[in-house]
Each structure stands twice: as C-alpha cells, then as structure tokens.
C-alpha cells in the first residue's frame, strides 16, 4: 500500500506548478457568445415564419381574425388541415390538395428515376470512356445549365404538341428529365472522375465491359452521389411551379400549382389557417426527404474529401 501511494506521490510531484494538461475553456467567453449568438439569431430568423405558419394552421378562423399571429392557439383544431387536404376548393373542384399530391408523386418519382438513370450513365461515359469530342459534348451540356428555362418554354410546348403529349403527365416527366440532365450529368461526371482511375483499369483487365463496369463497380461505389442527385431532383421537381402550370392540364396540376390556386382563390373569406396548413403540407415532402437523407446528402456533397 505504501508502495503504491509513494508511486502516485512521486508521479504527482514530477509536475511543476503552473499549467498542466488540457487547457480549461470558459463557456462564456466572448468568442462563444459571439458564435452562439449569431447562430441563435439566424435560427430564429428562419424559424419564426415556420412558427407562425404552424400556430396559425392550428387556430380556428375566429381566433385568426384576432390578429395575434405570434400567440399560440387557445384552442387547438386540426380542422384547417383536414380541409386543406380534402375539401379546399380550386376553381370547380373541391377535393383539396390530395389530388395535387398524388399528381406530384406521379410526376416526381418517374422524373427522378429516369433523370438519374440517364445522367449517371452520361456522367460515367464522360468521365471514363473519353471519346472523340466528349469534352465538346460536355461543354455544350453544361452551357445548357445556364440558359434560363423561360427561353425554352415555347419551343418545348410546340415540340410536345407535335409529339402529341402536350398536357399529359408523360410530357411533363420528359421535360423534367431533360432539364435535370445538365446539372446531374455534371454532378455524376465529377464524382466518377474523382474515383481512382486504376479501379476502372483493373475492371477492364478483368474483362468487364461498359455496362458491367458501370453496374457492378462504379454504381455500387457511388451511393452518396446517387442520394445527392435524388434529393436535388425530388426537391426540385416537387417544388416546380412553372413547368407544372405550363405543360399540364388542370386535372394533372402538381401540388404546388394547386396550392397556388387554393391560396389565390378569390371567392369568399380568406382562410388563412387553411392556407397555412396547405402550404406546410406541400412543403412537407422535400423537408422529410431532407431530414431522412440529410446526412448522406452532406457526405455526398463533401465526397471529394472522402476516400473511396
């Protein structure tokens, strides 16, 4: 016993008086106050509108009319949510947002899948199978990303009309797929170009061809970038308003267009609580997608720093 205590004493006494070990940090340093203060202000700035929306959507109309937009609801009611989903009127239809929701699902899922499938193969070909003129092709594709959509709307309307698919869901899906192409191809090309080239060479020596290398080597290695592309496409297409209103007929209107029609309908009283509920419902899908896959998203965006 005395042995041990003398050992401890000896090791303790080796330290000189003064700073030792980890430097203590104060929680309330000017640096921390500045840092957390800024973060807090930014968070409040972005969250207040959301708060107002949620609070308002849970109030009845009499309470909304009082005008205390920041006060929490005295009596919580889900009536506005039900109404927004299944009863709100747009023009002649009074079946709420539900129809728009299913239209949006029908538009978003195929558009996302097709555009990612095509763009990933594009990117793979451009990164790994350099062909004569591939750089020129790539440049042209990228230029496409910088042309404002509005310029192309009229020509596309004509093209779709000639193809006989103007106003159909198919037409809109094709449009979304095409407009997703430049940015997605860029994304995939850069990701595949960042994968070690020797892997591609090894696969070629192993005898794998264009598709075998893509399907069995490249794609399974690239989950993060597929998730990034998926999030970009789902949010982009879900939130799209312009193409939805231009290229479809009212029975195929996506959720965003229907939301607009509900909020802007001029008949009767403005039901702010219903409008708020409808808006949150419309925004919920991209939000959920982001929360579910946000971590992968960040990883994919920072993929350059991640070793394969």
């Amino acid at each position: 016993m005395s042995d041990r205590s003398s050992l401890v004493a000896a090791s303790a006494s080796r330290l000189q008086p003064g700073p030792a070990g980890r430097k203590p940090r104060r929680m309330l340093s000017p640096r921390n106050i500045m840092l957390y203060g800024t973060l807090l202000v930014a968070a409040i700035y972005y969250l207040i509108p959301l708060y107002v929306m949620v609070v308002t959507s849970l109030k009845g109309m009499p309470e909304v009319r009082l005008g205390n937009i920041f006060s929490p609801p005295l009596e919580i009611t889900f009536e506005p949510w039900v109404k927004a989903w299944s009863q709100a009127c747009t023009g002649l239809n009074c079946d709420g947002l539900s129809r728009g929701f299913w239209n949006s699902v029908l538009i978003t899922i195929p558009s996302t899948l097709i555009s990612i499938a095509v763009a990933s193969v594009n990117g793979y070909a451009l990164a790994n199978w350099r062909f004569k003129g591939s750089e020129v092709f790539f440049t042209i594709l990228i230029v496409g990303a910088f042309i404002p959509y509005q310029v192309m709307i009229y020509p596309i309307v004509i093209v779709l009309r000639e193809l006989g698919i103007y106003g159909t869901l198919t037409g809109l899906i094709i449009v979304h797929t095409i407009f997703g192409m430049p940015i997605l191809t860029l994304l995939f090309r850069n990701y595949f170009a960042g994968l070690p080239e020797e892997l591609f060479k090894a696969a070629r020596i192993d005898g794998a061809g264009f598709w075998a290398i893509y399907l069995r080597i490249m794609a399974p290695m690239s989950l993060p970038i597929f998730v990034v592309a998926m999030i970009l496409q789902i949010t982009g297409i879900w939130n799209d308003f312009l193409f939805g209103v231009v290229f479809t007929r009212p029975e195929y209107y996506p959720m965003t267009v229907q939301l607009n029609n509900i909020v802007n309908s001029v008949q009767g009283v403005k039901e702010y609580n219903v409008n708020m509920a409808a808006t949150i419902l419309t925004g919920a899908v991209p939000l959920i997608v982001y929360f579910v896959s946000g971590r992968l998203f960040v990883r994919g965006i920072a993929a350059g720093a991640v070793k394969g």
Partner: protein
C-alpha cells in the same frame, strides 16, 4: 522467336502534339523479370499501360507470346496487372474481388473456386477471403491485388509501382515475396518502379528510361558497373556517382585523365574504343570504389567536410579538386570534419564518358 514473351516493335505514343514514347523497341524473354526504371514522367508507366492495352498506341506493334495483340482488348492479351493504389473493388469482399474477372469471363464455379484456393494459398490470404478491402492493411491489400492477377492464369504479369504506397518495412518484405513468387511461378513479369533498390534486387534485366526512350537495357550488374551513358551513371546508385570533368591525355605509362587540378592514370580501364589524347571526357567513380588512406599508386589529398555514419557503412563528403565528392567506407572507420585524407582509386572500376555525347568511352 519462341522464347520471346513480350515484343514491342517501333512503338510510339503521342498525346496530341506531345510525344510520350518514341520508336521504342523491346524484347522480353519468356520467364524474364524486366524492370522499367526511371524518374516520374519518363514514360515507364505509360509503356506498361500500352502493353496492357489500356492506352491506345499511335504507331508500332505489340506481340505477346508471338501473337499480335496491338488491337486486342486488355482482357484478351493474357496479362494480369497490379496497381500502385491496389485498385481493389471496395464494395466486394476479397473473394469477390478475386472472382470478379472469372465471373465476367463466365468460368464454371468449380473452376473459379479452385483458382481462388490456389491463389489464396500461394499468397497466404485464406483467412482474409471474407473481408472487405477496407478491413485490410496495405500489405494485405497489395497481396490481394497480386492474387487478382494470379487467378487469371496469365502469361505476363504487369506491376505498376506496386510497393510505392507501402511503408519501408512492408516494402522490403513484399519485395522479397514478389521475387519468391517469380522464382516459383516463372512467369514473365514487367515491373515499373522509380525505386532503384527494387530494380536492382528484382530484375533479370533493367530498362532505364528517360523522356520516353530506353537509355540502357541490361542486367543490374552491367548497369551498375558499366553504365552506358552519363544519365544512367548518375541515376543508378545512391549516393550517386562522382563525376570529374577533364580530358584524356597520353603519358609514358599509358593514357591518363587530367583536369586543371588532378591527374589519374587510366591504366587498367577497359575502354570500348581508343583513348585519343585531347578528348574531352567525364570521369565517374562510385563512392565505394574510392579508397581512403589506402595503398594505391596514386594518392590525392582531400579534406573531410561532413561525415554521415549509417551503421553498416560510413558516408564521407569530401572537398576534393574544388568540388564535393562522396566516399563510402566501412562503418567502423570514423573521420573528424576537417581531417586530411588521401584517396586512391582503381581505374578498372571507373567509368569514362565523352563530355559531348555523354556516352561511355
């Protein structure tokens, strides 16, 4: 022709206007271990990629086993390749990595299993078969990468700086293993490296490259002791060969080498051509071929500048004839900086180069 494994005829490769390989000819014997050695950018890896079929050549032909493979796909050339970064498929287990090529080639499963078992036994990676590459150490990964070439049952192995990503200890261990592998398999191996130790220890013949041209193709021994030109002489050996500039002169005792400050007898130097007096020349002597305070006919005074003891031997940097030269002596012999020493050397071990053409005389 029958004992030629790989034959490269008049191969050129241009990237646009840039010529990377020029008119290259190379015949590699069956079962030979050939090392392509050179500093980065000399075209050695490019040449290997051309042999593998991963790069399309601009001119010339490539034969493997007397078959013209110039236009063949990599998989049809009968080659296996090992890369510096291992290039293992990260999402597949070791076993899947080994079997991928065989599955693509649609071999029967029993055959695949047999080949994997054999490769795993040779490389002693049986316990690793179920693991993913990320769970392996660098040395294990490179072993798996070699295994992937092994299962393909090919005539020619291509190694692209396979040991450069490993630490020093593992590197020397795997170096020995690769040599052992070659001795037991007796396949043709082409090995690219910038490490002259690897080249010297592994090669049957070394091809030293510079700017896309082979400078010398010879056994390691010949390259070390009789470098064909000044570049090869300076490239091989660490520390590098000492060079003195001067000219050949005649004397009563035979040809001598003279500069402003020194005179060396060239008696005993095996010149490939006549040593004409007045010819401008560069004399090259390896650090270990200079005797310090020894008994030699000619004695030259030098001053010790720096001493670098390395254990087994001791490297001296000396001030001599207005320049710094390096001398390797036994590790037990120590010298204080500033000490005066006498140098002697054996002309038969020296190299003499023409000052203009830089070729060996």
């Amino acid at each position: 022709m029958t004992n030629t494994s790989v034959s490269i005829k008049d191969l050129s490769l241009n990237f646009g206007a840039v010529s990377v390989l020029r008119n290259l000819n190379l015949d590699i014997r069956d079962g030979e271990f050939l090392v392509l050695l050179g500093s980065s950018g000399c075209g050695k890896s490019t040449l290997l990629n051309c042999i593998a079929g991963l790069l399309e050549i601009s001119e010339g032909q490539i034969f493997i086993k007397d078959r013209n493979v110039t236009w063949e796909e990599p998989k049809d050339r009968g080659i296996g390749m090992v890369f510096q970064s291992y290039a293992l498929y990260p999402q597949m287990s070791v076993e899947k990595n080994l079997s991928f090529g065989l599955k693509v080639a649609k071999l029967p499963q029993a055959d695949i299993d047999k080949r994997i078992a054999r490769a795993a036994e040779i490389l002693q990676i049986q316990p690793l078969l179920k693991r993913k590459p990320a769970e392996l150490s660098g040395g294990q990964r490179q072993r798996v990468a070699i295994g992937r070439a092994l299962v393909r049952d090919v005539d020619v192995f291509l190694f692209d700086e396979p040991l450069s990503n490993l630490d020093a200890k593992l590197r020397s261990e795997l170096r020995v293993e690769i040599k052992r592998l070659h001795q037991s398999l007796k396949n043709t191996m082409i090995y690219v490296t910038h490490d002259q130790i690897e080249a010297m220890t592994l090669a049957d013949r070394i091809a030293i490259m510079k700017n896309g041209v082979i400078q010398q193709l010879d056994s390691p021994d010949t390259i070390y002791n009789a470098p064909r030109n000044l570049f090869v002489a300076g490239f091989i050996g660490s520390p590098s060969m000492n060079f003195l500039r001067g000219e050949v002169a005649a004397s009563d005792t035979g040809p001598i080498f003279v500069s402003d400050t020194v005179r060396f007898s060239l008696d005993g130097y095996r010149a490939g051509e006549a040593l004409q007096p007045g010819r401008k020349a560069v004399l090259g002597v390896r650090p270990e071929h200079i005797a310090v305070n020894g008994e030699t006919a000619e004695l030259h005074e030098a001053v010790v500048d720096i001493e670098e003891p390395m254990g087994a031997d001791n490297l001296l940097w000396l001030k001599y004839a207005g320049q710094t030269i390096s001398v390797r002596v036994n590790g037990a012999r120590r010298f204080a900086p500033g000490a005066k020493v006498r140098l002697g050397f054996d002309p038969s071990l020296a190299s003499l180069f023409d000052a203009e053409t830089e070729l060996r005389i």
